[in-house]
């Protein structure tokens, strides 16, 4: 462990951490929006569910390195190449969780909402999505942790990508363990911290499931 190397590269570590978070956030955010659309479609048009799950399952099985390699001829060494695989990997996690969350809304609650005169859109926004929140947050945690890990692999596309993964590739190339650790350890810490943050945010957003009295 070469502490002097780490101290000399603190600035770069900081920048790489920010880049790492940015890449992960963009992927999780895009994946979430895309999955929300697919999930609502699947819940409303039941026959669409099986193909959507199957497709996102197949995408999930493609090794990330192979996917990067396959995209380079199409999209070049661009941010698109870095992000597309990351986004695709979140689909399976998100769609499964969002669909399970929406399906878990009790039938009597839906019936009451219809009978009160909610339109379909208002029912989705004010009843179904809030009640699906615990499972949606669970999906968000899984997708975030796995994406923060995967961002490191996009470092193979060059130093504009990869976030902390850059150090891992560099350290590997130079057989310099300190640099590998300088990439791997903060990446893991990042994943754990984001997970904790989401647990806290989830509990705050769903006060009905823990406490009994509103603040």
């Amino acid at each position: 462990m070469d502490t002097s190397w780490i101290l000399a590269h603190l600035d770069e570590l900081g920048l790489r951490t920010i880049q790492h978070l940015g890449l992960a956030f963009l992927a999780v955010g895009s994946g979430f929006v895309l999955s929300m659309g697919l999930s609502v479609l699947a819940v409303r048009v039941r026959p669409a569910l099986a193909p959507i799950i199957a497709l996102s399952g197949i995408l999930y099985t493609i090794p990330s390195l192979a996917l990067f390699a396959a995209l380079v001829p199409v999209t070049g060494l661009s941010i698109l190449t870095a992000e597309v695989p990351l986004v695709l990997y979140t689909l399976l996690i998100f769609v499964r969780n969002i669909v399970a969350g929406l399906d878990g809304v009790p039938g009597d609650v839906l019936e009451a909402a219809d009978a009160m005169g909610y339109s379909r859109r208002t029912r989705l926004l004010s009843v179904e999505l809030p009640l699906a929140l615990p499972l949606i947050v669970a999906g968000l945690r899984l997708a975030s942790v796995s994406t923060i890990g995967l961002v490191t692999i996009s470092g193979i596309l060059g130093d504009r990508f990869g976030g902390l993964g850059f150090f891992i590739f560099e350290g590997y190339r130079h057989a310099f363990p300190t640099e590998i650790l300088a990439g791997a350890v903060p990446s893991a810490v990042l994943a754990l911290s984001v997970d904790r943050l989401l647990v806290g945010a989830g509990a705050r957003l769903t006060p009905w499931s823990v406490g009994s009295v509103a603040r």
Binding site: P106, E111, A112, A115, L131, P207, S212, V213, A214
Partner: protein
């Protein structure tokens, strides 16, 4: 509470068919025609699969009829915009269906919020409704449904259905999920509430006792969704239209009829009465001359003290309170005939003393008089009239 009065509801040859499925299990409805006058409770009752819930849901179009029409105040519900229609009809179900992620206040405010009421108006209305159903806004309004008892949840469900003051309420086994003691209390509270609100209510139950208790009118539905009989509870108990109805209302329908009438509905028989301090020999002569040789001693304000037999009345002097040796059951004019009969059968003397609200003696009612009321030649006054 000033509110909109009930709406007139009419089923006009309404049918719901589920092709290719076993008739008995589906809740199909076959050519249902009936009219519910404004401000009345009509109970749809029948065994499971008789289409009672289907009939109810056709009114707010949770289920669309295959043929026929349902009219609310003369307007075919099929012609109305569906969300607007539903916001004008209260809906209460057995599982209540409260929104678990919203406080009691937000739940009750659902329809007013959809209708775009101002926050002030909604706040005032929620407090008013919670008090109306027996909940304290300061205690319950900010709770989540998970923190309520079953009975409290059901009350919130009723408050939510009443929120925008709809002229029509649909209630599907609303008290089915609570224990019998709470159910009885909720039923009584609801009937009291209805005296003030005078909504038109369609009420679904599988329990004939609940139907008789809650209904101004009762529609008995048979498997396959055919209307077997429609009338007042007393008509249905007195003259079941078919074997099915007779079996459904039960062998004790006579006793059930007695539960519909009250002691005050009977013309009580007179009795010999006297007050402490009256002349004993005159009272003795009157009592001995009567075919029913018993004297009832009353307080000055008319409240009964007890009986003296003719031989117990002294030949001279004045009557005293301590002379009364026997007492009969006191029957409040509001006691049901079923309860009155039960009290009389348990007592030594099978004549009850009818007393008014102040406790003053009105006359005698005997077990024979109660039994006579069930006789077919003396049709009972319908409970709703």
């Amino acid at each position: 509470m000033a509110g909109s009065r009930g709406a007139l509801v009419a089923f006009d040859h309404a049918s719901k068919r589920y092709p290719g499925l076993d008739l008995g299990r589906t809740g199909a409805v076959e050519d249902l025609s009936l009219e519910v006058p404004a401000g009345r409770i009509c109970v749809l009752v029948g065994p499971s699969g008789c289409g009672k819930t289907t009939s109810l849901k056709m009114v707010n179009r949770l289920i669309e009829p295959t043929s026929g029409r349902i009219l609310v105040d003369g307007v075919d519900v099929a012609t109305r915009e569906v969300t607007e229609l539903r916001r004008s009809i209260g809906y209460v179900i057995q599982q209540v269906g409260l929104f678990p992620h919203q406080t009691v206040r937000a739940n009750v405010a659902t329809v007013p919020t959809l209708l775009g009421w101002s926050a002030d108006r909604i706040g005032g209305r929620v407090d008013e409704l919670l008090r109306l159903v027996g909940l304290d806004p300061a205690v319950h309004a900010d709770r989540y449904p998970a923190a309520l008892s079953g009975g409290e949840r059901q009350r919130v469900g009723v408050a939510r259905a009443l929120a925008a003051d709809p002229p029509l309420m649909l209630m599907d086994e609303p008290f089915g999920a609570v224990d019998p003691i709470v159910r009885e209390r909720l039923q009584n509270e609801f009937l009291r509430l209805q005296e003030v609100l005078a909504k038109t209510i369609l009420f679904v139950t599988h329990d004939i006792d609940e139907a008789i208790k809650m209904g101004d009118l009762v529609a008995v539905l048979d498997i396959g969704g055919r209307l077997a009989q429609f009338g007042t509870p007393d008509e249905i108990l007195a003259n079941p239209a078919s074997d099915f109805v007779a079996r459904f209302v039960g062998a004790d329908r006579g006793l059930k009829r007695l539960a519909l009438a009250r002691v005050g509905d009977l013309e009580p028989a007179p009795a010999l009465t006297a007050h402490p301090g009256d002349d004993a020999s005159a009272a003795r002569d009157r009592t001995l001359a009567d075919p029913f040789p018993y004297l009832l001693l009353l307080e000055a304000d008319g409240r009964p003290i007890g009986w003296l037999s003719a031989t117990q009345v002294p030949a001279s002097g004045i009557l005293e309170e301590a002379m009364a040796t026997a007492m009969s059951p006191l029957l409040d004019v509001r006691t049901t005939l079923k309860d009155a009969l039960s009290m009389l059968l348990a007592a030594d003397v099978q004549a009850g003393l009818v007393v008014d609200e102040a406790g003053a003696f009105r006359g005698l009612v005997t077990a024979e008089m109660i039994a006579e009321r069930l006789h077919p030649t003396t049709p009972a006054r319908a409970a709703v009239d």
